[in-house]
Subunit: 340 residues, 2 copies
Amino acid sequence: MAPKIKDVAKIAGVSVTTVSRVLNGEKYVKDDLKARVKQAIAELGYTPSHIARSLVRKKTNLIGVIVPDLTSSFYSTILSSIEETASLSGYNLLVCNIIEDIEKEYKYLNVFNEMRVDGIIIMHEKLNEEIRDFLNKLDIPIIFSSVKPRDQKFVSVIIDDYAAAYDATTYLIQLGHTRIGFIGGDMRDVTSGQNRYIGYRDALTQANINIVEAYIKFGDYKIQSGYQLAKELLASEPCPTAIFAVSDDMAVGAMNGIHDLGFNVPDDISVIGFDGSQLTELVRPQLSSMEQPIQDMGKVTVESLLDMIAGDAQAAAGDLILKHKLVERKSCKTYGAKEE
Amino acid sequence: MAPKIKDVAKIAGVSVTTVSRVLNGEKYVKDDLKARVKQAIAELGYTPSHIARSLVRKKTNLIGVIVPDLTSSFYSTILSSIEETASLSGYNLLVCNIIEDIEKEYKYLNVFNEMRVDGIIIMHEKLNEEIRDFLNKLDIPIIFSSVKPRDQKFVSVIIDDYAAAYDATTYLIQLGHTRIGFIGGDMRDVTSGQNRYIGYRDALTQANINIVEAYIKFGDYKIQSGYQLAKELLASEPCPTAIFAVSDDMAVGAMNGIHDLGFNVPDDISVIGFDGSQLTELVRPQLSSMEQPIQDMGKVTVESLLDMIAGDAQAAAGDLILKHKLVERKSCKTYGAKEE
DNA sequence: CTGAAAGCGCTAACAA
DNA sequence: TTGTTAGCGCTTTCAG
């Protein structure tokens, strides 16, 4: 059995209180005692039990994180940033991967609660009633990252999705495109579904371009759906000369679909993605994308959550809107420009 | 403050023991008491404290996982599988992302120890002396996934890297290639560095093909190094007609390097990767790869670890070698075959 | 400065 | 079947 604080105390010839004091770096311990304690700790290879500490301190230094899909480039990058930031402040991550599995999420949320995590980060917005209620009852600070659930009570770290989609579409329009296909997300999502969709429509309307329903498709943010939907888009007559997909994954899928159909990106069709994931630089041609500040998003999420944990009312006051940014790479081209 | 077991007991008019019993599903509780307790629990919205339980049960149901890079397609897929399997058995994951940061790893290992996690999964093999010592002293079950550290004491879930590399190289040879470039890993790694390298060499030797040092480069498994190294390989005269990279990431980097230099895969140069990550299907042309059973690997890792946790001596007996598999896609072509 | 003792919230003998 | 009681390993008053 691992040594306990009592064993250290015995060996050092002091009380457990004193050992506890040196463990916690308190100053009111005479140097010689402190030395003896340290010596005893080393001798025994003693490490304090985080469990026992948590029990009395009522603080676990644990943050529960719910990720929709660990294997997604976007989420794994945010998670990586979250992990790094949390780690810097001495917090550890309990991660739950829920692949469309709401039951699992509910179960995990319960586990987070039982574990008495200090805070919770959620990265998706499809809350059902049960979960929403549960979350509302929970008195653990909760923050949403990269998404915003309907319920206004929770704070979110997001970009202005409407403006970002508007800007992305406008970019295509400025390149001379008028037949612009749209591969959207889930319309039940307000941030990544509705807002981006409305941004797209408004940009077209603003430019006096008719909205063609055949140019509008909705996917599930994943590669495969982008692939499929791009093929459908290309079946329209006349077909779009540019496609805006609301995730890089779908944009890459679209590029592949276009490629497999024998067309060329960007010569025949321009494609712009959304997110700024690692995929953008990895595919050929490199994908232009309306980027979210992914690293920052993770960092800001954790920092705000830690503020909330610390009881900073300010932190829980409202959403944090970060800046989006268009990054041009090789997948978009002026309409009608002659081929190289 | 959250309600405690005592509060439930009071409301239900029973002892805490009884409450504890119904909480743990024991049978020796009369139905009416059980009902009253459940009623009280619901009324209070009581949830048992995992912390307190862990303290007395000396079991946390936590597994610490050390991942080299969360954003890598390969690791995130294993992690996802690990998470899924662990979750099914009621275990939760504490994840640590160490990006080349040995200090951080050491720190985390300490945290895992203080947290009294029930088991530890490590997915990289670059252990320094300090960590090796620490691991040896620790009496928490440890398992390595996808890698095998020098130290024979630890059990690993791996494939036969030597054979896999041998087979991949032989595949290229059978396609008629003789000038086969190699983009290896870190030679300090035995599994993914040395073994794959030796497999490559032996396959060539076996086929009576001279080993050309200029065709051999070593990277860090990441896209960028594959990109750079492929360019270097293409600078040789005559240059290789095929390249075997020991990670899909490097293979994709190589494909991009080849592409950016104006050559075509597979018409000019064939490329084969290693791992079987999601990237293989996402790039164009789709990447042929010597695949590891990634999903399985995560699953087997957790299952073995749980066996070890359960005290199954058998489980700690030796490495688990899973089967590799060559998956042909579009990135390799018979040497000299006429272009389409 | 140092120590005795009272919990943190729960489980597990041991009795009844 | 049910309850009493003694901890799990640590921190934290409160005295000294």
